[in-house]
Symmetry: C3
Subunit: 429 residues, 3 copies
């Protein structure tokens, strides 16, 4: 995952430009079976319009002939999607276009205006000292071009065409945690799933410019939506800050069950928040009225370097990325393994008779497992899946599988196959 | 509304007598299209029997030839529906028939006994001093007569015959807040609705003697019940005391949604209590088993002048009446406007693209509206109405209509017509 | 009930032996219409195997020729179902097989190992002083025999074959509260029900060895399971300790309603706990996946004499047994009486008109009844039974029946017959 980050991090990506195209090409090298889709700028996608491509040649502010800000120093010094500007401005005028972070003297913010015509610069708050002259020579040599907005998808077919979406964003210039880390985790999972011999579900990995990329792709592939039974939005996963799991819009779906169960019983505990209370990004599209793909998210938001020049490789910890990746892997593994346990005989199972009694008096580490036996035994109903039952009864999914798999080994239960279908949430369309 | 109160307040009304007849005639002048219905005394209505009419000629207590209580001073001095009495009583005997309010030295209570034969007097507690003699000459010259118990109704037809009932009482002698104010509000709303060009629902305004009037009318018009999809009991609305909203019996109906939403987000905030925890009056009939008209209520109960001679014009504030009237109006307006919003495109609506973004950074008063956008956007499901969704998601109905009406203006949603039908609560009959 | 206890208490019963056979014969004397069923040892019942019968001739420990423990002193000195032993053991070896209760110096525990081959002795903790020698001569002269495991059932037919099970255990040697008291209560109720002229439900009383008895009987009479609509596990009811009611597995069944209502409003208040949080015994079979008989329990567990030689007649109070019996009787009586009240007229019932007004001002003891009138009146829905409504609205079942029975006497309601059917919980089989 670190290799992908290192290669893409320096590129001045945005919603649509040549750097983003290059970034997607790099992702494609990691995901050989992926496809890059281009959507024409200016075209209408649902209620949205695809914006033009934006290329910046250079931008600068000069005062008394001296350059005090220049885009060559960092592309982040220029408000992303700035309109072209050439002219002189008074001190008062120019300051209206300058963005700083007063609380962080030496950092400068990533600022942008994709849908409203603006221009501006971003500088460390301490640089305001440089603005002592009366007039300033401002140049922004930017271009808006017709062309394509590009998105990458990688489809990994399983036995069922019921599809789980893993969504990530590539569009923030120079930003690494937000959200190249999400791309890295998604790509790593994609490779792992591709190597599996057998998958129950199909998987669709999306690497797109935020919001508009997801809208453009889905609006042009609307037949896919029906098949998407769940989603995971993967973003901001590489910092030291704590993990946060965010629920789907409905908040009570199958995917919420797994996320919440892992947050309590998994190897890494984490906090759970309601829909749109953490990331609030592409899941706003995936899990919106009319799309209705129940989408959970995992992030390490908030972190202090968010949307600044400081969101760079220096803040990324590989073990943090791995921890997040493992959670996503676990979610998928549970869903892949899930089945409906059907007991073959009525009554409580005779543990001693089948050598299944965990002798926790001799090995105290078996105590939690033993405690979960009654919970599991008296939850099984022949109708619901392991994950559904674990959720209903608030039992560790891990323990539940332990017991029902043991029962299965001994021939005490049948495993009935279980697959999530698009829940009857077709309220819209 | 004050004119109606001024005209009717002085009349010594009761369940059925000539003063009540006169009062209903006055109401009819304010509601030209209303009808007065007479129901024969002694007739059986459901499990009840219509009581006889009661007329009081005069009543007095004399001690040593001196009149110490007289009905001419106030009809309230006589227990309403007292049987005729003529005779001498010892001090001990007479005191059993005297009612006072020990906590209110100079006020005297409105007392009555409609269904159990009794007689009595009501006096200020301080008047007990007048009872120092050994014997008293008591005369109650009252008459029970066969005839009619009269009720007034005013039907305002809408496009649908699904009918909303507004119920009020006229029967308490000299009492104004309880409940002539309810009549005034009901009559004012009736006039306003009559002037509307278009109504979705029909409306039935009822001005009746408490409980028995509602029973008599409905028992004789039982075909109506099926069409009544909701009700509002209007009583005790003119004092300075705080408004209280009372839920329906089910407590979770459409009308509860609106009442509760207004109590939190409306111009006048107010407290909400469960069914029969405030007024407990004609809604006990309207929203009873077998009738099942889900009925909300609004009152300013409790107030200290309740059921005393002090419940008169002096405690009525016109602006308080208006505030209550406005709430009833708002309930009706919301129900009349309600529709199911159907979005035309999947995904979140592109606010900037339709000039719908409320720039709360420039105008901070727009902040709550902006905050509600996400709530509204992600609630719409193409099935439920604005009021249902606002209730489910605890969003201001006002804000919800703001957004969906804006979306409609821009052609982004369709409005599907919505009308409440008698919910399937036909448990009885 | 005390007679039965006195007769059976001294018998050294266990899962299957001649003393248990004798005990069942005694129960049969109290329940003439009962049947004793034998199930062959070694046979497979669901996932379980019926263990062999166990007879103990005698067992002893000698040190230096002196007997320091002997089964003649109490059968409880020998671990129940001990394998035969004959030999000499070092102090270290023998102590591994000695069980005491360190916190109760002079009591000794009832220990057993039905499904794992073991041997052992149980002694007062203070007797450890006797183990000062280096070697011990141990003899356990026990036999495992093929034969029958016996169970007793008594079926009391009602109008419907929908059956309520009352389950109790007979198998703990010398133990009285656990669980001969449960047998005594079950048998007493059985006799009372047999004398009834009319029963709505059928009743099945079971007196069996714990767990395996219930499994053996049901596995061999599986056609019965379908008809069993509820159950009561009766155990440990004779001590001074507080009553505890335990819910069914589902926790929200009809039987839970009655139990919870009685725990709050009955003559004896008691605590309620969730399934398997108190007794955790034969209801683990009755109310297991695949059997699904919703089974409530009543016990006086915990009590300090539990599973020791001190659980004997000395701790049993007849009035405590009676109190528990009365609760079971009340549960049955409510279920037998239950009906759906259907009102004949809409609207609130005119209490004064039918002389039903409880004049609580004259008789303050009537106040709670009066308070419940509105609750009852406005709950009736023509669909649910008295018990269901009382549960839904949290009203005393006693009060509910008071009012609806009064209404029925006055011809104001119809009673529609009501019977619980096996709820659609057929998730397994």
């Amino acid at each position: 995952m670190m290799e992908l980050l290192n290669l893409i991090a320096p590129l001045p990506r945005t919603i649509a430009n040549s750097a983003t195209d290059k970034a997607l090409d790099i992702v494609k090298r990691f995901l050989p079976n992926s496809i890059i889709h281009g959507f024409r700028t200016g075209s209408k996608v649902w209620t949205w319009t695809i914006p033009k491509r934006w290329e910046l040649n250079k931008a600068s502010i000069k005062a008394g002939g001296k350059t005090i800000v220049h885009s060559d120093w960092s592309i982040l010094h220029v408000l992303n999607y700035s309109v072209p500007v050439q002219g002189n401005f008074t001190r008062e005028e120019i300051l209206k276009h300058i963005h700083t972070i007063p609380s962080q003297e030496h950092a400068f913010p990533f600022v942008f205006s994709f849908y409203k015509e603006q221009w501006g610069f971003s500088i460390p708050h301490s640089w305001l000292d440089r603005f002592s002259a009366d007039t300033y020579d401002v140049q922004i040599d930017s271009k808006f071009e017709d062309g394509l907005l590009n998105c990458l998808t990688c489809f990994i077919p399983g036995e069922s065409n019921q599809t789980f979406v893993i969504s990530s964003n590539i569009c923030h210039p120079l930003q690494v945690n937000d959200s190249l880390t999400g791309v890295a985790v998604a790509a790593d999972i994609a490779n792992r799933l591709s190597r599996r011999e057998k998958l129950k579900y199909s998987y669709l990995i999306m690497v797109v410019p935020e919001t508009i990329g997801t809208i453009a792709y889905l609006a042009n592939n609307s037949n896919l939506i029906e098949k998407c039974i769940g989603g995971f939005f993967s973003e901001m996963l590489g910092t030291n800050t704590p993990l946060v799991g965010q629920k789907t819009r409905k908040g009570i779906t199958y995917w919420d069950s797994i996320l919440v169960n892992l947050s309590k019983y998994g190897a890494s505990k984490f906090k759970i928040v309601d829909f749109l209370k953490s990331a609030a990004n592409d899941e706003k599209v995936l899990d919106s009225p009319g799309v209705n793909i129940p989408t959970i998210s995992l992030t390490r938001y908030p972190y202090s370097e968010y949307h600044t020049n400081r969101d760079n490789m220096g803040i990324i910890k590989e073990e943090k990325l791995r921890e997040a990746r493992n959670i996503l892997q676990q979610i998928i593994d549970y869903a892949e393994e899930d089945y409906v346990p059907i007991i073959r005989n009525p009554g409580p199972i005779f543990l001693s008779g089948y050598d299944l009694y965990p002798d926790w008096r001799e090995d105290p580490s078996l105590k939690p497992l033993w405690d979960s036996f009654l919970d599991v035994m008296y939850s099984i109903d022949g109708v619901h899946s392991v994950i559904e039952l674990a959720n209903k009864k608030n039992i560790s999914i891990e323990h539940f599988f332990y017991w029902t798999n043991k029962f299965h080994e001994k021939g005490l239960i049948q495993k009935k196959s279980f697959i999530i279908n698009k829940q009857n949430e077709k309220n819209q369309f």
